[in-house]
């Protein structure tokens, strides 16, 4: 029975396997098809630190992210005096935005500060085939203990007496500037031995600052003071709205815990110091005590303090509120054109800071250029949008001949240097030539419009241009924008050549049919001549028929040669047609004479049989007519 069942199920298995295979293939195609376009864009490389401030002995993570290149070689050894940087592994990331997919390799390093100070992690050169990518320079500020950053709960000792859950607020800076973006970490830990579910929060409370939306938390297991905790880490950022001293937090959250029931039994003799002896578990006292106890707990952290300073005065003219550390790269496309042709100037601001206040770089000299409002596109490199690159595309049109696009400037405030920094790009060489100058007057274009009064003398100031006059005559009205081929009239007109073509075809067919009739007539005559010639060779018939048939053969051959009717042919025509002379001409005339004589006299003249000699002469004569 099982065998039979197996046999029955085999086709179904095969079908399901085929369906499964097709499904996998479609899924794989769907997964990998977009990757054909992944590497179409130019590869880019960025580097970020999980925190730009730390303390001695407290590591931070360095991530080098390469997007759009599959064969990049990561830097093996990054040497910075005072920092111990070690490679910890790599990961891959596929990101999709608006159906634009990008594929990235992320190389992770752990940076352990060995001493206090400000450290620069130099740009790293990454080889991708023929290209070399450079990461930006990173700055890490390492403080001595006590840390400069503000931690709500410096020792991650769980606040709860029963050590079930804890909340922790980590603000990476204690002193900041108005508008500066400060990374904040919210950590919620739950004893790994219990089941916990977050029902509300966490909420970051406080006034005087704005908070970014929190992404999904990272989840990992940490051991704190010998206990295992499942820790949820929420990363966000805050920005102070005004100067002053603020209290951030506390963090508040609610969670539902599945706590094992405690027995009323006395403490285990082995647990003298209340160390959570595993044998003190209620299971060993009462294995059938039932389900664990469900308890809702409020988790709350200690608040953190943040001192916010106002930005110093003497802001650069084009400062728009950007605070952080940035670099700028510019590009112009195309690099050659005519006056009035649009050029696209691309400027990419990369780094770390409040990108929402990063405005488009401005031209140092806009004379001779018309600028259009720029477009902006921000690509973040981290979860909270502090690190990344913002690209601006500005369309410029030159009003005069130009050899370069003037430098672009971008100003920001660097909180580490505590001063304003202005980035200035190099001028970019372009070739803008005259020609299609927009100053061509409509009068010159229209030809018939009013010409300028003085054309030879250049005027000092260009005259204001104006549009041409109204057309007041009743125009030719139409009712369609459709192209000619979409209008019925066009196809009606095509009937004329169509009729001509049909007439031409009909005429040609008639001609062919007529040619065919003539051919049939000629074939019939040829067949008749052949038939008669066969009879003559056989010597059938009496002399009157014999000569009549011979004369008919001559008439047919002559008629075929001259394209005339056979009955119109006489001896002279036949002689002339075949150009006979001498004896043959006489024989032919004799043949016609005897044929006529026998036909019109009514009786044969002489023997009833044609002599052989005569017959041979006649046949020779007929054979010679061709």
């Amino acid at each position: 029975m099982p065998l039979r069942q197996k046999r029955v199920r085999r086709p179904a298995n095969r079908i399901s396997r085929a369906v499964h295979f097709v499904g996998v293939a479609v899924f794989a195609a769907a997964l990998f098809l977009p990757t054909f376009g992944l590497f179409a864009e130019a590869p880019t490389a960025t580097a970020v630190l999980t925190s730009s401030e730390t303390e001695t002995g407290r590591p931070v993570q360095l991530q080098i992210k390469i997007t759009g290149a599959s064969n990049a070689t990561p830097p093996g050894n990054i040497a910075v005096d005072g920092l111990d940087i070690r490679y910890t592994g790599q990961s891959q990331l596929v990101e999709g935005r608006n159906f634009q997919f990008s594929y990235s390799f992320i190389y992770n390093y752990t940076v352990m500060p060995l001493r206090a100070g400000t450290f620069k992690i130099p740009p790293q050169v990454l080889r991708t085939g023929h290209d070399a990518l450079r990461t930006p320079e990173l700055t890490l500020n390492v403080a001595d203990s006590p840390v400069r950053s503000s931690r709500s709960n410096p020792s991650p000792e769980p606040a709860d007496d029963r050590k079930l859950a804890f909340a922790e607020l980590v603000v990476t800076k204690a002193i900041a500037y108005v508008g500066e973006v400060i990374p904040v970490e919210i950590r919620l830990g739950f004893n790994a031995r219990i089941r916990a579910r977050l029902t509300d929060g966490p909420q970051l409370t406080g006034q005087g600052f704005t908070t970014q939306k929190m992404p999904q938390p990272q989840q990992n297991i940490e051991t704190i003071n010998g206990r295992s905790y499942e820790v949820l880490t929420f990363k966000t950022a805050i920005a102070a709205a005004r100067a002053g001293k603020f209290e951030i937090g506390p963090i508040e959250a609610k969670a539902l815990l599945q706590v094992p029931r405690r027995s009323a039994a006395p403490r285990s003799p082995f647990d003298l110091f209340n160390m959570d002896d595993p044998f003190a578990d209620p299971f060993f006292n009462d294995p059938f005590a039932g389900l664990p106890e469900q308890r809702e707990v409020d988790i709350k952290s200690e608040p953190a303090t943040l001192e916010v300073k106002a930005l110093p005065p003497n802001q650069p003219p084009n400062f728009a509120g950007a605070i952080g550390a940035f670099t700028m790269v510019t590009e112009v496309k195309p690099k050659a054109g005519q006056i009035g042709d649009p050029l696209t100037v691309s400027a990419t601001i990369s780094g770390r800071g409040n990108f929402d206040r990063v405005a488009a770089p401005a031209l140092t000299d806009e004379h001779g250029w018309h600028t259009y409002p720029p477009s902006a596109n921000f690509k973040q490199d981290d979860d909270v949008g502090i690190s990344g690159s913002k690209s601006f595309e500005t369309v410029l049109t030159p009003n005069e001949r130009k050899s370069e696009v003037p430098p672009l400037i971008f100003s920001y405030f660097d909180p580490l240097k505590e001063k304003y920094v202005t980035l200035k790009s190099d001028p970019i060489a372009v070739q803008i030539e005259g020609g299609a100058a927009p100053s061509a007057t409509p009068a010159a274009i229209a030809g018939s419009a009013t010409p300028p009064a003085v054309t030879a003398r250049p005027s000092a100031a260009p005259q204001a241009q104006d549009i041409l006059y109204q057309l007041t005559e009743s125009p030719a009205w139409v009712d369609s924008f459709a192209p000619l081929y979409a209008r019925p009239m066009f196809w009606i007109i095509q009937a004329i050549p169509l009729l001509g073509l049909l007439g031409f075809i009909g005429w040609e067919l008639r001609q062919a049919r007529m040619d065919n009739r003539e051919g049939q007539r000629r074939a019939a005559l040829q067949q008749e001549a052949s038939e008669l010639q066969r009879k003559l060779r056989r010597g059938e018939g009496n002399p009157d028929k014999y000569f009549a048939q011979a004369a008919r053969i001559v008439q047919i051959k002559t008629a075929l040669a001259r394209r005339v009717e056979p009955h119109t042919v006489d001896a002279d025509i036949a002689v002339a047609t075949f150009g006979l002379t001498g004896e043959r001409r006489d024989h032919l005339r004799e043949l016609f004479r005897r044929s006529d004589e026998l036909r019109y006299s009514g009786s044969p003249n002489g023997n009833r049989m044609v002599p052989d000699e005569t017959r041979r002469e006649v046949i020779d004569l007929l054979d010679s007519l061709s």
Binding site: N98, G340, P342, T344, H370, Y372, P373, P374, S375, A376, N377, F378, E393, V395, T397, P438, A440, P442, A443, I445, A446, G447, S448, A449, Q465, D466, I467, L468, Y469, Q470, L471, T472, E473, S474, P475, A476, W477, V478, D479, S480, F481, P483, L484, Y485, F490, Q494, P497, G500, L501, F504, I505, E508, L509, Q511, A512
Partner: protein
């Protein structure tokens, strides 16, 4: 059919034709009156009234290149370069050889800093004839090829010169067809539209807060690729693509 009825039939036909054509006369007179009134409004400096008059003719499908040209002038005087450029484009769509419309379009486009779509190589080099003229070339070449092909089919001997003529006609017809295709997908596309509002942002997605791809000045050209609700996905100048709101653009070809 007797003699009397033989005479009566054409007479009745003439009467019917006259009756059929007679309602057009008042309509034409009314159309010309509206056009003249709009022209006089324009001359008096009442540009909004002139626009209303011209637009009423447009709504009634009474179109002409000169009407759109005059309407473009009125919009320009009313301070709406986007609408002015749109109507100059419409005038040129109806009559590509309209010198006044061409001159004013160039002037207003320069003043408004309107952006133009980048024409591809075939469109640039085939635009010396319009689609309609290429259509005539294609039709003439096709008929010539058909006549020659029929002649060769029925002919007992096929001369090399007629075969050459056939090949040439076929090549010209194919080239004209290619030109029609390219121009209909390029400069003379039905999807060509003009930005009528001022400083219209083209966005990456169909949301008002989506990142901006390009800010389009009034009168800029776009090519509509698809429509989704109140948004249009369009090919933009500078080889860009983005979403713009439907009420900020208008099609050139009605």
């Amino acid at each position: 059919m007797n003699r009397r009825s033989f005479i009566r039939f054409p007479a009745a036909l003439v009467v019917v034709m006259f009756a059929a054509s007679s309602p057009a006369a008042p309509a034409n007179a009314n159309r010309d009156a509206i056009f003249a009134k709009a022209n006089s409004d324009y001359a008096a400096g009442h540009f909004r009234q002139a626009i209303d008059g011209y637009e009423s003719l447009v709504r009634n499908r009474q179109w002409s290149a000169s009407l759109f040209y005059d309407l473009g002038n009125a919009w320009f005087r009313a301070g709406e370069p986007g609408h002015a450029i749109l109507n100059y484009e419409r005038a040129l769509a109806l009559n590509p050889a309209h010198p006044e419309a061409e001159a004013n379009l160039r002037l207003v486009r320069d003043q408004a800093r309107a952006l133009e779509l980048t024409r591809n190589w075939p469109t640039q080099h085939l635009a010396f004839l319009t689609v309609d003229r290429w259509t005539w070339v294609a039709a003439a070449a096709a008929w010539l090829a058909l006549f020659v092909a029929c002649g060769l089919w029925f002919s007992s001997r096929r001369s090399a010169s007629w075969i050459f003529v056939l090949s040439l006609a076929f090549a010209i017809g194919a080239s004209a067809g290619f030109a029609i295709y390219e121009l209909k997908n390029g400069g003379e596309s039905r999807a060509l539209a003009i930005v009528t509002a001022k400083e219209v942002p083209a966005r990456l997605a169909t949301a008002d807060n989506a990142n901006s791809v390009l800010v389009l000045p009034a009168g800029s050209e776009i090519k509509i690729l698809s429509t989704r609700g109140d948004w249009i996905y369009a090919a933009l100048p500078n080889q860009l693509r983005g979403w713009v709101q439907t009420n900020t653009v208008a099609l050139v070809r009605l």
